[in-house]
Symmetry: C2
Subunit: 385 residues, 2 copies
């Protein structure tokens, strides 16, 4: 039997998990109503507030990020409520689908996939509509690599009296998000991205204005009911049996993250993004995601003409044990995405670039050999952001 | 620093997890859209069908059991639909609360906590009402230790044209449940009970009649939408990022369970229940749960007069590192519950009985010393069920 190959998970989620976090997950399960777990859970809740930069509550659900997104619709909106969804990719479209499932009147502000929603457009739309119950934003559109200007978009939405709801699933702790400072009413995230923990937990921060809105919402909810969750978290407990090992892992990961500090994490992600983009360009490939410092979550690369991106991703995985992400929805086969969030360093970028270079060369693409990895390492070393 | 105490988790959920399962959870996270995870997930789905004893689909959600219970209401019912809920404890009441949250007209068939719902009562109620959309059953009422006769109750409900929905969260793989054989339309379960896996995953089996009902339901749903989940599972994938490590653990646990066989698991649980009850009686304590073979999930014991059950549970945990469960809701302080589901043997029963005996003796209760453990071991050895 051959030695098992080494494996590299370089997608924008799930992301690589530090061994300390994995080890914490292998500990015998604690009872979720016992004093030890309460202590652990209470510490996680406090650390989450630090990461979200809020004095308000951060609610924890055993679910994927989509579950917490749905909780926002179910707790804030009633059938017929108007919501505005600036959408430029797969996850913006998910907001619209979720709101439609609950009978909201969705005013879509649709951009081509890969574009960046503009505050002026949102302002004009809200003026035209005479306001809205909520504006549903996607901070990092993981399907395209675009990170939008949440601060500016939130300002416009607030001025029009709308609640600001932000999908920060792949961006939290990778790029700045000031929940209280920017007036974000609800920010959604998940355990499996920059929080360096396996998937299984999702989060929602809730402002006072959002709590007031829950009183008006008539949508049915039970498992995702915010009031029930808040009452339990005051003990501090989860209303229903949570994914205990994932909580134990999250506690360790949040400790690692906050020991270094959020500013350090933001700077690190910006440098990784720049290194990745420069490496890609050095190879002679074209970027799909914008070439700007904010694009620090995932780098989307156009697949050269005549090559099928789906096959390329499979080839890279099968030959080198390296898992990159392909395109989603209408971008399937057309782009390759390199994630660089969470427990990630510049040698992971080098690995991704080297594997991409080898596979493209093997597929007969006209690319520059021997440049990308060195360029990435140099840019990372020299980058001041 | 003292040696850390040994810890014993002897509650009816979460339950002890075998070390092989914990080890699988500490492996690096697989990408949930990659070929390795698909293989693992497909195998889990096939094994779940074996455990549920159904040819139909078993849907998997990253959620607690309550999330999967809610999925049944959201996918089967519309506001105004009539449902009948035979209820004799905390989890029966949860069915009623869930159905009310979705605007159903709930016809409660309420028993005192600790009683066992009777098929004749259900038949009379359904006749009186002229039928119902669904009957919501609780196979093992974990709050009281009662296991009801699902086969007989399902027969009555089917005859009246109602869908049969069963909460089998704590009973699946501990006591017999024949989903196809008994005409159960929907059975709900979770990873953290007799399936020997940490909490984080919940399941719902769906019959053809239940699939037909989903077409009629107007309740909003997205994360828990069965159709979306089924379409993804055909690939086989999860529609949203699942709790990957818990799925990896579940795969190992289901392998262990099915290697021994379900019949062996049922017989083992019945013997454990009998051993526990005989030990409790040997100590001179009174059972709260029925003294019958079906009570194989959790044994509820009345706390002697003058002793506070809440303090007793804390004392047992603090002094001996043994976690038992107290009473829930209106039984808080009045009973102690010893769980015996999943990765459990007779020495765990002995540990629970010994700790209970020591703590009650310390609290000044009049109990028989030195009998319970021996009685339990003898009964287990001699039991033929």
């Amino acid at each position: 039997m051959a030695m098992p190959e080494k494996r590299y998970l370089l997608t924008p989620g799930p992301t690589p998990v530090p061994p300390q976090v994995l080890a914490a997950m292998a500990a015998p399960v604690e009872h979720h109503r016992g004093p030890d777990f309460k202590q652990l859970f209470g510490r996680c809740l406090a650390r989450l507030r630090e990461v979200f930069r809020t004095e308000g509550e951060v609610l924890v659900f055993t679910a994927s990020g989509t579950g917490a997104m749905e909780s926002a619709i179910a707790n804030l909106c009633s059938p017929g409520d108007r919501v505005v969804v600036p959408s430029a990719g797969h996850f913006g479209e998910r907001w619209a689908a979720l709101a439609e499932a609950y009978g909201c009147e969705v005013s879509g502000l649709a951009y081509a996939w890969g574009e960046t929603p503009a505050p002026d457009d949102l302002e004009a739309r809200l003026r035209e509509l005479g306001g809205a119950t909520a504006v549903l934003l996607t901070q990092s559109e993981t399907s395209t690599g675009v990170v939008c200007d949440v601060e500016a978009l939130a300002r416009v939405a607030k001025a029009a009296g709308a609640l600001v709801v932000v999908d920060a699933v792949s961006s939290l702790a990778a790029v700045p998000l000031e929940v209280d400072g920017w007036g974000v009413d609800v920010a959604i995230s998940g355990s499996q991205k920059a929080l360096m923990t396996p998937p299984g937990l999702a989060f929602a921060s809730v402002s006072n204005a959002a709590w007031a809105a829950t009183e008006r919402s008539t949508s049915p909810r039970y498992y995702f009911d915010w009031g029930r969750t808040r009452r339990a978290q005051q003990k501090p407990q989860s209303p229903f049996t949570p994914a205990v090992p994932i909580v134990a892992g999250l506690d360790v990961a949040l400790g690692l993250l906050l020991e270094d500090g959020l500013e350090s994490a933001f700077a690190h992600h910006a440098r990784l993004g720049r290194a990745c983009r420069e490496g890609v360009k050095g190879m002679g490939l074209e970027l799909f995601s914008p070439d700007e410092d904010r694009s620090a979550v995932v780098t989307a690369v156009k697949v050269p003409e005549g090559i099928d991106g789906r096959e390329l991703v499979l080839e890279i995985r099968d030959r080198f044990g390296v898992t990159l992400a392909g395109g989603q929805g209408r971008l399937e086969g057309k782009i390759v995405r390199i994630g660089h969030i969470g427990w990630f360093d510049v040698f992971d970028i080098a690995t991704a670039l080297a594997a991409l270079e080898l596979a493209l060369h093997g597929a007969g693409a006209e690319i520059e050999r021997g440049v990308a990895v060195t360029r990435a390492l140099d840019v990372y070393a020299g980058a001041r952001v």
